[in-house]
Symmetry: C2
Subunit: 344 residues, 2 copies
DNA sequence: TACATTGATGTAATCGTTTACACGCAGATG
DNA sequence: CATCTGCGTGTAAACGATTACATCAATGTA
């Protein structure tokens, strides 16, 4: 493959001149520039980013380590990040941690070896020594969606507390009192936060949350299904199952369907995370939507600021409740909370 | 950041020795190796993949340019590719073409500059000069999902002809005769192929396909919705809408729902591409499923063979029909094809 | 005419690796 | 004792770009 040297020879100039026109960094005679460009064209020259990065110590590339690429939330996030990064002149290399700390570290390591200019990380669980090391080394790093306590790293995330409060009040208004939550892992900040917001909102509404109504999931579909199964097997099963993310909602839906239970008369369902197909489920699923695209865009901008030595600040955006019909409709079950019979 | 030179100094050896233990390429005295490893640890040395690639002319990285990252088909594909690549010691850099040739070329260019060892490409539409150039240069390249005629490039894809035939016979058996197809872009091999298979299957079943029943979509949700709208506005609307991919099926579903039409009594729906949530739609959607993961794995293996100079061959896998209830159930509408009234 | 200024270009060092080749030393062999 | 073998290690030249510095011609100025 042709190199600057070849181009220089072909154009009858030095490599320095070639480099100059390629970067239009310095004054170059128009006629010379034309000759160089012609040579580039003729030889099909393509700049070697590897060599360039070695010399300039910058790859114009950012790393993105996400929790689970099959989770539509992360997919949409990745998409937005990609777009914003491209607009800012960066490429994105994605690593899929699959919610496993070892795999997260694998990608962080690989990306650091590849000398990305900065890293966007949706941290899984614990602070690994590797991550701690990055922070200590001053590697440009931004946490996304989740955060890790005790580490001074800018974070871009959504806060769902208000929306969860609104959801609980909505359920209360519909007459529901026995509401169960399938939480994410307590090791994840998002898991903890949503659980805390849920229990606080329940307390504020004067509703109790028996321990058995707090199922611990792991943000994957299978755990949603298992959690729903345990809840439905309870002597006094809940009237509502609120899943802590979209995959667990899918799992819960699977279980409810497998048992032939009607929604919302036999059991109601709500989901943290909103998805396009939720409107097509029967009945459409009430959900809490995050500003996913904005999250992605902001994260890239914060990281770029960090890389280019501008001041940075964490970002917190609000999630919002989207009411549909999977928890019942006003009047359907009355406002006084009578126990759940199935209205035909 | 520490370099081999620092490690060498710290361990009291030469850089060559350090490199040797890092690659365990050559005999090194165990005691020396230990000293080097200790120095690596002490300095927190991380090998610079950029410099390494420059020297070895290999990045152990493959590029993947997909059609649309928001399309679950491609997401699942990317996931499988990632896994297989990691197993083979490669990293994957993903570019999202968003079904636009210009963006495809943007990523191909970027990835070539980054000197990926090979490229997995889901080609959008026409053969661009850039792609033709790659082939001419002998760049390791594999087409995935789609192919481009007249180019000698190994391709890994699924053939849905048989499954489409089975679907048409299934519909016929259910008594449907007026079946419409929302096709993908004729510029894409997958678009053409599915349309051809559909019309052939219809002919074989002795069914007619009026021109108006062939809607041209672009594999995106909006076009599915628009296509469905036009079909439903026809003086004699079809009994079945068959969408050429999952996003267009989602769009069609949107339109059908917006009109308050019952499925399958008012209009039936089938989709090319199967999705986990199709079972949760009311009624569950009959679909043609592709062996997505196998497709991804095979593609990586073919590309790796190509990169490592082993002989390669194209791969064609079969898609299969998954019957659910969105086209009706045996007996529901009778086997004799009476015209579609809505049974309450 | 002599000298400073400016603009265009070239020379060569450098980035962090890998690796061909050379070297020295120990033990084996004649 | 001279020589050979082979192992462990070091020296230095790449890889392909960028860029500080040097050079040189042309022009302007005193």
């Amino acid at each position: 493959m042709a190199s600057v040297k070849d181009v220089a020879r072909h154009a009858g100039v030095s490599v320095a001149t070639v480099s100059r026109v390629l970067n239009d960094s310095d004054r170059v005679a128009p006629e010379t520039r034309a000759r160089v460009l012609a040579a580039v064209e003729a030889l099909g020259y393509r700049r070697n980013a590897v060599a360039r990065s070695l010399r300039t110590d910058a790859t114009r590339t950012i790393g993105l380590v996400i929790g689970d690429i099959l989770n539509p939330f992360f997919t949409e996030l990745a998409r937005a990040i990609e777009d914003e990064a491209r607009a800012l002149g960066y490429s994105v290399v994605i690593g899929n941690a699959d919610e496993r700390p070892d795999r997260q570290d694998h990608y962080v390591r690989t990306l650091l070896e590849q000398r990305v200019d900065g890293l966007l990380l949706c941290p899984t669980a614990e602070i690994t020594p590797l991550v701690r090391g990055m922070v200590a080394d001053g590697q440009p790093l931004v946490f996304l969606d989740r955060t890790l306590p005790g580490l001074d790293v800018p974070t871009v995330r959504a806060d769902g507390s208000a929306a969860i409060g609104a959801l609980v009040r909505h359920l209360r208004g519909l007459g529901h009192r026995r509401i169960a939550f399938i939480s994410g892992p307590a090791l994840l900040s998002t898991g903890r936060e949503r659980t805390a917001a849920f229990t606080a909102a329940m307390r504020d509404c004067g509703l109790e949350v028996p321990d058995a109504y707090l199922e611990a999931g792991d943000f994957q579909a299978a755990s949603g299904r298992a959690g729903a199964a345990r809840l439905l097997d309870l002597p006094e099963p809940p009237e509502v199952i609120f899943a802590g993310d979209n995959l667990m909602a899918l799992g819960a839906l699977d279980e409810i369907r497998a048992r032939g239970l009607a929604i919302p008369s036999a059991v109601a369902l709500a989901s943290y995370d909103d998805l396009p197909w939720f409107t097509h489920v029967d009945p459409p699923v009430t959900a809490i939507g995050q500003p996913v695209q904005e999250l992605g865009r902001r994260a890239v901008r914060v990281l770029a600021d960090r890389i280019e030595d501008r001041p940075v600040e964490s970002v917190v955006l609000a999630a919002r409740l989207v009411v549909r019909r999977s928890c019942g409709e006003p009047g359907e079950r009355g406002e006084h909370g009578e126990e759940g019979g199935s209205p035909a």
